[in-house]
Every structure is written in C-alpha cells, then in structure tokens.
C-alpha cells in the first residue's frame, strides 16, 4: 500500500501539478495530444529535468537513488523499447517469486502468452505483442505505483480487455496507485476511477 503524491511538479508545458493518488486508487488523465500527458508521467518517473517533488508512501523521491525510484514507480511508455535479442533477457532473473497473481508466468498467461514466449526473438514480435510484454516486463519489477501511457493504444478489443484486467488485478492485490493516460472515453468509463483532464496547461478534474 503506497500512495503517490505529486508536489509542485513542473513538466515542461504544464503548470505546476499538485496531485494526491491514494494507495489503490486509479486516476485517468486525458487531454489533446501535445498537451503534456506523457511529459507529466516522464517527470514523475524522473526522466526529464524539472522542478518539484514526488512522494511514494511518504518517502521523498529526492531521498532515493534514481534507479530505486524508477523500479518502485513503474512507467510504461507509449512505445516500448527492447535492448536485447530475446524477450527473456529483459526480465529479472528472479521473476519466479509467485505472488497472489501467479508471478511472472501468471501475468504472462493472463496477457495471453505461453511461458515459451521468453525464448522468442524481440524482432519477431508484433507491435501489440511488444506492448503487452512491456507491461509484463514492468510488472515483473514489482512496482508500487504504476504510470501507464496509452497502455492499450495498439491493441485489439480482446487484448485490451486482458491488459485492463491484468492492471486491475495488480492494483487490487498490491493496493497500487495508478495514473493512466488514456484518450479512450469508453475505457475511462469502463474502469471507473478519478478523471482528470489537461486544459490550457492545467490539470483539472472532469465531471
């Protein structure tokens, strides 16, 4: 159980953002393209220089090493990148600690993959497969907060449902704070949660 608190966070094109996401809470962020949704998530994950502080479970980001922070606050970018040849090389070796969700193989199964997927070559994956496997890769590092950037943008309805249910399961079981950037109003309606929008550089609630 870890809440995420953004404190005066200034992503390049946004006014300073103060946002409190409770443990286990789902917050949707929407807004026109170029409005700074992805920049906001990148700032939380500390990928771009910016001002402001973020707290995870009462611990300040600045008091934590960057690598530890990024492991605990998992960002799933809109485009997934892979640096080694096979899928398995990207996953932590100790991925077999079975949590309530069945650990890595449980997540892979729920996303529609056999365990053999770990031996697959990344170059042969489709965009949608990469996107789903990137989610598995991120969840394998057991993040305590999730930042999802258009996590279902390239997926067909069946796989979109799989991803949604995997995220919802993880959120429920680990009481994780989730910030989800999505441009799909139906998805936002389907999954509930708090709705925020970016208008003129300000992050504000939508009714």
């Amino acid at each position: 159980m870890a809440g995420l608190r953004l404190d005066g966070l200034r992503a390049r094109v946004l006014a300073p953002v103060d946002l409190d996401v409770r443990a286990g809470e789902l917050v949707f962020v929407s807004g026109p393209s170029g409005s700074g949704k992805s920049l906001l998530l990148r700032a939380v994950a500390d990928l771009d220089p910016h001002e402001g502080e973020v707290w995870l479970d009462g611990e300040a980001r600045s008091a934590m090493s960057p690598s530890r922070w990024r492991r605990r606050v998992g960002l799933l970018p809109a485009e997934s990148f892979w640096w080694a040849d096979s899928v398995g090389e990207h996953l932590p070796a100790n991925g077999e600690d079975k949590g309530p969700d069945g650990g890595l193989s449980g997540v892979l199964g729920a996303l529609g993959f056999e365990p053999a997927v770990l031996a697959w070559a990344v170059s042969r994956l489709s965009t949608g497969e990469r996107q789903r496997l990137a989610l598995a890769r991120m969840l394998a590092q057991r993040p305590q907060a999730l930042l999802l950037d258009e996590a279902t943008a390239n997926l067909d309805p069946a796989n979109r449902e799989r991803v949604e249910s995997v995220v919802q399961t993880y959120r429920a079981e680990h009481d994780t704070a989730v910030i989800w950037v999505s441009h799909d109003p139906e998805q936002r309606e389907r999954l509930g949660g708090r709705q925020l929008g970016i208008r003129d550089g300000h992050l504000e609630p939508i009714n």
Binding site: D46, P66, S67, R70, G74, L75, F81, W83
Partner: protein, 267 residues
C-alpha cells in the same frame, strides 16, 4: 648511404601527381578536387612552417618554448577531434572532453617514454619530445574522435532503449554499458589493425622515413616498434578516458539521459 637531399624541383614533381588526382576528380565528377587541392596546400604550408619552427626550437632547447609548442599541438588536436564528431557536447565540454583525454593519455605516455625508456637528457629535449608527441597526439586524436563520435551518435539513436533500461531500475552505467563498449572498440580497432599488419603490407610511415633518411633497417624497425607500443597505449588510454567522461556527461545527477547536452555539428 647518406641522406639524399630533396630539391624544390623534386617536390614540385611529386605535387604534380596530386594535381593529376584533382584533374581526375574533376573529369569523373567526384566533387572532391577542391578539397584535395586545399588539403595539399594546407599540408605544404603546415609542414614547411613546422620545419622552420622545429629548426629554431632545436637550436636552443628552451623548456618554455618546447612547452608552448606542445600546447599548440594539443590545442590543434583537440580542435580537430571536436570537428570530427557529428554530435558533440554543448559548451566547453565539446572541446574539453577530447582535449583533456588526449592530454592525459599522450603526456603520461610521453613522459614515461622520455624518462624511463629512451632516457633523454634533459627529458624535454625537443628533437625527441616534439616528434614523439606528434605521433602520440595524432593517433590518440583518431581514437578519441572515433570513440566519442560513436558514443554520442549511438546514444542519440538509442534514446528509447537507454531510457527503457533506466525504467527497469538500471543505473546509468548499466544503461549505457553496451554503447560504451562499442564506442571503445571502434576507437581501438584502427590501431590494433595497424599493429597486426605492420610490415606485412606497408612499412609504417616513421620507419619508411628513417630508412629513406639513411638509418639501418633494424634500428628503424626497433624504433617503429617502440613508437607503435607507445601509440597503442596512448590511444587506448585516451579513448577510455574520453568515453568515460563522455558517457558520464550524458547523464545528470539524477541519472537522466540528457541528450539536450549534445548538439548537431551542422547547427
């Protein structure tokens, strides 16, 4: 066999070959004739000037003058190494990373060679120091320039992959590890190749020069070996220092990839 002196006429004859090359480039539309001619003119002026300067320098062995000459050489090498990078660091770093690593590597190897190996008295005697430094700097310059160019270029192209690794909780060193390795390797390949083919395909330039100037071949070979070892050490050390500082500079204190610290040469 004594030293055969070259007359201006001999050189003019040889330069005719370069003119021929330029003519060929013009006829075949290769588009490099201007560059060939400018480079040939540059090397003529530069080498003649250096000959004059060295003549004056050798006549007096004054430490301050030797230091000045060494400084000018380093400054020129630093500038050239910077010019050869497509994406270089902004501000003083663009010039500084290359120059500093060449300074560290060339001067340490040079001092070692002069005081321990060749044992020149006094160690700053310009007849030894200047040609050695030139050899070291010239090769370190290629190694450093190639390594840095490869480092910044691939970091620029692999932004997504580097950040993906950072996001899985990797430190900056883990995230840039393979790019760094490739950069170092590409900087070292030319000198390794030169060592392994030395003597088989062509006689290295210095040895050729010595033989033409009348040295016994065995002595020339020994000197060439010495130089080759010194050069490899200097180039390797220079590339390592440059890649280390360069890759560190690509990340900030929060281990973010800072490609905004690079700028394109064309801009």
């Amino acid at each position: 066999m004594g030293l055969i002196l070259l007359s201006p006429f001999d050189l003019a004859l040889a330069s005719g070959l370069v003119l021929l090359l330029a003519l060929m480039s013009w006829r075949l539309h290769l588009g490099v004739e201007r560059r060939v001619l400018i480079a040939a003119a540059r090397s003529t002026v530069q080498l003649m000037l250096v000959g004059l300067v060295l003549k004056a320098l050798f006549a007096q062995t004054h430490p301050a003058l030797v230091a000045l000459m060494a400084f000018v050489m380093l400054a020129a090498a630093g500038f050239e190494a910077m010019q050869r990078q497509k994406r270089r660091f902004c501000g003083p770093w663009g010039y500084g990373v290359g120059s500093f690593s060449m300074f560290v590597s060339s001067f340490s190897v040079l001092l070692l060679a002069l005081t321990v190996i060749i044992r020149v008295e006094p160690w700053y005697q310009p007849q030894y120091l200047i040609p050695l430094l030139g050899m070291l700097l010239g090769n370190a310059m290629s190694g450093v320039a190639i390594s840095l160019d490869s480092l910044t270029r691939s970091a620029w192209d692999s932004r997504g992959r580097i950040e993906a690794r950072l996001l899985t909780g990797a430190t900056w060193e883990q995230a840039i590890e393979d790019i760094r390795r490739d950069a170092l390797r590409s900087g070292l390949i030319p000198i390794v190749n030169a060592m392994s083919t030395a003597g088989l395909v062509s006689l290295p330039g210095m040895m050729t020069g010595q033989i033409l100037a009348g040295s016994p071949p065995m002595e020339a070979a020994k000197y060439q070996l010495l130089i080759m070892f010194l050069i490899s050490a200097g180039t390797g050390l220079g590339a390592v220092v440059a890649v280390w500082i360069g890759s560190r500079r690509l990340f900030d204190e929060r281990e973010r990839l800072r490609l905004d610290r690079l700028r394109d040469k064309a801009l």
